[in-house]
């Protein structure tokens, strides 16, 4: 792409480094900002800068947070005996949006993948173990839910964590994987369908 202005070119290059944004979209965004009043751009840069500078990660669960401990970990109505382990921050938001879960979280920050140079020590696994080992008697963790991606790396990570948790004798579960709601069996891929049959659940007509 050729630009009439060096300034535009620089802005487009920077914006297009964001995920999912190509040069064309970046150009549209840059031109849009130019059409707005100057303070719109100022507000945007200010909020992005303070996000980058002031953001904290929860010292317990590693979720994004404004304070030392995040609002979920600090929440009074939260069920403290269940921890749901997820790969990353968007997963916390996704599960929160279901309104079906009221326990705590633990954000790993990735999954184990030696090819990409990511080992257990690069993730928040040890802090999960410490968290479980050191909770006061009144807040004892009874169950860990592994909500990791249904990939080979997700499976490997789940297995590794389960092994590490063995000594505590707590319940470890994984989220169910199977047919989407409203999904037709004949259009479900064979692996998913096979797995759904293997991990079938009791059905009650009560």
């Amino acid at each position: 792409m050729n630009f009439p202005s060096k300034l535009i070119e620089e802005a487009v290059n920077e914006i297009s480094r964001l995920p999912g944004i190509g040069k064309k979209t970046a150009l549209r965004l840059a031109l849009h900002l130019l059409k707005q009043k100057e303070n719109v751009t100022e507000e945007l840069t200010r909020s992005l800068l303070s996000l980058r500078k002031d953001i904290k990660y929860c010292s317990l669960c590693h979720n994004i947070s404004d304070a030392e401990v995040c609002s979920i970990c600090a929440g009074r109505r939260r069920e403290r005996s269940i921890i749901c382990v997820v790969e990353d921050i968007p997963d916390v938001l996704a599960i929160e949006n279901t309104s079906q879960y009221n326990g705590l979280y633990h954000v790993l920050g990735g999954v184990i993948s030696p090819i990409q140079g990511i080992g257990p020590d690069d993730l928040n696994i040890e802090s999960l173990i410490q968290r479980i080992a050191h909770t006061p008697e009144t807040e004892k963790v009874k169950e860990v839910i592994l909500a990791l991606p249904a990939t080979m790396e997700g499976d490997t990570t789940s297995f590794f964590i389960t092994r590490r948790l063995k000594e505590f004798g707590i319940k470890v579960s994984t989220i169910a994987r199977g047919i989407p709601i409203g999904g037709e069996l004949e259009y479900t891929d064979e692996v998913t369908l096979g797995r759904s049959i293997l991990t079938r659940v009791n059905y009650s007509a009560e």
Partner: protein
């Protein structure tokens, strides 16, 4: 099944081409280097989502271009299937069946069986065990979705484990708890896949023997011995005890990626003791047995690609192969030959419908002389 037509854009040396095929015999003639084999490769793409010759998609794009497309219409036992294969540099290859995008290439593999005979390639016999594993894996993957899925998992876990072992070597320390998840997967997948290979050979070897007897003059007994550690009762322990060696050699030394399929003639290894003629016959018999096993399992005759066989085989073997064609053992055939008169003479004796195409520097035209 048969392929009714093919449409190419910027595929290998073809700028743009479109051909209507005969459901029986199609013969591509033209001087060497004109692009005859590239057409076979395009058909291979439609059936198996990849080329027979070069595994790297980018290398199949016309020089200086950004993408290629290969489209074709199949008749699968009366069912119309249009396949579109689209590759663009730096992007994920796309495959569409009747306009519907296929997410995983593996969902397409096996639908449209294809067998290619290139008799000059005795690599299968002469090269290392990797070639033979690839040959049998390709066959099994086309027949058994579960095998395919587990093989993909196996290869992935193996790559992860090897990467991990290299890190162990760099740090000078083996961490059992880190490698454990991979050990577990590799052991159980090895056991499954080796058992599947073994069961497959029980069905495949009798077919190989049958076709070898048809194609060769002398009736030496041929066989395949499957060499693997993965079927021993003690495999799991052996694998775990091998950790020390893995650590020293910096890679995984046990599992189905170490298996071999030993081809034998008269009880001896074909690689060492087979004559050139015997080796050629063996390769053809391997492919014809593949054709037969696909036919049995898929209930349709696979498309058969014969690359340059009239040049590379002696008259005797050509005659035997053509007898099979005349007996209607095969379905649709695609043949390449640099000498049109020769193929015309051979094929005219068979009495099947043959269509000839002259290939000249990426241009395809009907040839009727």
């Amino acid at each position: 099944m048969h392929l009714k037509n093919i449409r190419l854009k910027q595929f290998k040396n073809y700028q743009k081409a479109e051909v209507q095929f005969s459901p029986e015999i199609n013969c591509f003639v033209g001087v060497n280097g004109s692009g005859k084999t590239n057409l076979l490769d395009a058909i291979h793409y439609l059936c198996l989502t990849k080329g027979a010759i070069n595994g790297v998609d980018q290398l199949n794009v016309l020089h200086d271009q950004e993408f290629f497309t290969v489209f074709g219409d199949f008749d699968l036992e009366g069912k119309e299937i249009e396949v579109r294969c689209i590759f663009e540099s730096g992007k994920k290859k796309q495959l569409l069946q009747n306009g519907k995008a296929i997410d995983k290439m593996s969902d397409h593999v096996g639908l449209l069986p294809v067998v290619m005979i290139a008799p000059d390639d005795t690599m299968l016999i002469k090269d290392g065990s990797e070639e033979r594993r690839r040959f049998f894996d390709n066959m099994l993957c086309q027949m058994d979705k579960q095998y395919l899925e587990k093989l993909v998992r196996y290869q992935h876990f193996l790559k992860q484990r090897n990467a991990l072992i290299k890190q162990f070597a760099d740090r000078g320390r083996w961490e059992k708890s880190h490698v454990e998840p991979y050990d577990r997967e590799i052991i159980s997948l090895s056991q499954f896949l080796a058992a599947a290979r073994n069961a497959f050979l029980e069905e495949y070897i009798p077919l190989l023997k049958e076709y070898y007897a048809i194609i060769s003059d002398n009736h030496e007994a041929v066989n395949i011995t499957y060499e693997t550690n993965c079927l021993s009762e003690d495999f799991s322990n052996q694998f775990l005890q091998n950790a020390q060696r893995d650590f020293i050699l910096k890679r995984t030394n046990m599992g189905i990626h170490k298996d071999d399929f030993v081809f034998e003639i008269g009880g001896y290894p074909l690689k060492k003791f087979g004559s050139q003629g015997q080796q050629k016959s063996f390769v053809i018999a391997l492919k014809l047995a593949q054709f037969q096993i696909f036919l049995t399992h898929k209930k349709t005759k696979p498309v058969l690609l014969l690359d340059d066989i009239f040049d590379k085989l002696d008259d005797n073997r050509i005659e035997k192969l053509m007898k099979l064609v005349a007996d209607h053992r095969f379905g649709q055939l695609f043949i390449t030959d640099a000498r049109p008169e020769r193929s015309k003479a051979i094929l005219s004796e068979i009495g099947a419908e043959s269509r000839f195409f002259l290939i000249e520097e990426g241009e395809i035209s009907p040839w009727n002389q």
